[in-house]
Amino acid sequence: MGKHFRKGMVVLSGLFVLLVPAVASASSQPTLNQTVNAGTLSTNILQSDDVTPVASPSVAFPAKNVGFSCQTSAATLGDTNNKLNVTNLASNNGWTLTMAATGGFTANWDDGASNTYKFNDATASGCTNGQMSVDPSVSTLTADCSSACTNTNITKGSATSFNHALSADNVTLMTSSSGTPWAGYLTGVGLSQKIPASQHAGNYSLGMTITITAN
């Protein structure tokens, strides 16, 4: 009797939980609340699950030996495990995704031991002081939202070399003309860096900031 009673009570409490929302929705004073936070326009590097940000993201360039002539090292920004993601859930008229040196146009590749070379050489060849080129046109743009979400309003930037003399301190990776909610990512953005002749051996690094701007 006692066991049956307890079981009956548990079942009744389950039914109560199921039925209460229905009763509440029929009430003249609704008690259901739902808050939808305003969306944001944001960018990040995500792992292959499209959700988890990559901790301390970076792009490694293949090592080069010290040489008597200018050398070019090439790398790729964005791959299946490092997706350059954009999420636009904000109401806006469009946005631009750009890339620039965190330290501004005076920034350098630095090995931490006073050896540096530049990413934005003012010479045409880029070999005098070092120059980085970015080519988003070869990248792959993938929409990653609902089936209604397409890349129609999004254009990829052109291949560009950083060159402070030409005020080329920022490179456009993507532009959108629409404020329609969209999420997606870029993979395979081409990067190449010209390393000046006889550059000292070392592990060089350069901070770059990727900015998404509502415009």
Binding site: K7, V10, G14, V17, N37, A38, G39, T40, L41, S42, T43, N44, S56, P57, S58, V59, A60, F61, L77, T87, A90, S91, N92, N93, G94, T96, T98, A100, A101, T102, G103, G104, F105, T106, A107, D110, N153, T155, G157, S158, S167, A168, D169, N170, V171, T172, T175, S177, N203, S205, L206, G207, M208, T209, I210, T211, I212, T213, A214, N215
Partner: protein
């Protein structure tokens, strides 16, 4: 077992209570912001800041900062000047860059905000146009950067990446406002996957940015539209050029095409950004005509049609030649008793069908003695053709 079923019901009940809380904690988006007080008369102020300030005039406003992540975030907020990015895109200078324009006009009440998960907060600011500021548009940004998204290249090699979001700040200083847009070039290039990039370049020679509606389409040389139009509305910054790379699928049937571009903007100097009512002006430009190879399927269809046409032409030529040959060489013979079409065909080394066709015989093709028929000359048999004067005229 009974305990198990009771436990299952309880777990189910608990799940019903807990799941909504889990769903509401799901992470959508990251750290971002927007104008806290958008104006009702200008929808553009929902996403960017737009001010019209006379020399020395100050305005107050606020930026609402959102943390739509599942963790508490400490966020840096700072103002910087704008910069022109490649292709004429709008960009923001870095925190390390000197501030000489709007970045120095804008004073935020706080430069660091700590927000709980899914929290938001307004950071008020003032913006003051300096005395003797140039008439026209000045641009800057309010940048937002979560500390967790800031990455310093201390102990790693390569490019070390940081991320931030920013909001454009537009300040128009009244005076002589010039709005002038020209379409400079339309470049067409083929991509590795066979599609095309149509890259129009427009030039804004005015002193304010122009929200420009750019429309691009591939038009066949005959004037028939080939593909879906693409384009959108983009800001073209003052005294600058802007280029966009619109991708277009290669037209299925191929042929000669040109890329046609139309750029439309509000040319009324009295309207400000986002208040684009009144007169608009369009500029048009087309690329040089270029050839698009047909797709492989279309090529197959083209080849098939060509082969059919070629076969038909060969048949027609052969038939004409045959007719000419018949008219020139066949002679009229008189049918003798007991002769059939098949026996005649055998005797004259030709097909009975040909005899039937040339002489327009009707089934069952019975021949009568004395009937005149056109037949190929037969040296070995029936040496006496009907004299020329006695021949029926053959069509």
């Amino acid at each position: 077992m009974k305990k198990f079923s009771s436990l299952t019901v309880l777990v189910f009940t608990m799940l019903l209570l807990v799941v909504p809380a889990v769903v509401s904690a799901a992470e959508y988006g990251g750290v971002g912001g927007r104008p806290a007080y958008p104006r009702a008369d200008n929808s553009r102020t929902k996403s960017i800041f737009i001010f019209q300030l006379k020399d020395g005039q100050t305005a107050t406003d606020g930026v609402r900062i959102y943390n739509n992540t599942a963790k508490q975030q400490t966020i840096s907020v700072y103002a910087v000047d704008s910069a022109l990015s490649s292709g004429g895109g709008f960009a923001c200078r870095q925190a390390a860059d000197p501030r000489e324009d709007v970045g120095s006009w804008l004073k935020l009440q706080a430069n660091t905000v700590t927000l709980p998960a899914n929290g938001s907060k307004v950071v008020p600011f003032t913006i003051t146009a300096p005395a003797r500021a140039d008439a026209g548009e000045h641009d800057g940004c309010i940048a937002l950067q979560a500390r967790s998204a800031s990455n310093t290249p201390s102990d790693r090699s390569g490019v070390v990446l940081s991320f931030r979001s920013a909001i454009r700040v537009v300040v128009t200083v009244p005076g002589k406002i010039v709005k002038k847009l020209t379409l400079a070039t339309v470049a067409v290039s083929k991509l590795k996957d066979g599609s095309y990039t149509i890259a129009p370049t427009v030039r804004n020679d005015g002193n304010v940015s122009l929200d420009t509606d750019v429309r691009v389409e591939l038009v066949s040389f005959t004037g028939l539209h080939a593909g879906k139009r693409s384009g959108g509305t983009y800001p073209v910054l003052s005294r600058s050029q802007a280029t966009w790379n619109f991708e277009a699928k290669s037209p299925f049937w191929g042929g000669w095409y040109r890329a046609q571009v139309r750029a439309t903007y509000n040319s009324n100097p009295t309207t400000t950004l986002g208040m684009d009512k009144g007169s608009s002006q369009s500029v048009r430009l087309a690329s040089a005509v270029f050839f698009v190879p047909p797709s492989s399927t279309a090529s197959f269809i083209y080849v098939a049609i060509l082969l059919v046409l070629l076969a038909a032409a060969i048949l027609i030529v052969k038939k004409q030649r045959d007719i000419r040959h018949i008219r020139k060489h066949w002679e009229v013979f008189e049918v003798e008793n007991g002769v059939t079409v098949t026996s005649l065909a055998k005797q004259h080394h030709t097909s009975w069908r040909k005899i039937v066709r040339v002489n327009k015989l009707k089934p069952p093709y019975n021949l009568k003695a004395g009937q005149k028929l056109s037949l190929p000359p037969n040296k070995a048999f029936v040496p006496a053709p009907v004299p020329k004067s006695a021949r029926n005229t053959r069509k």
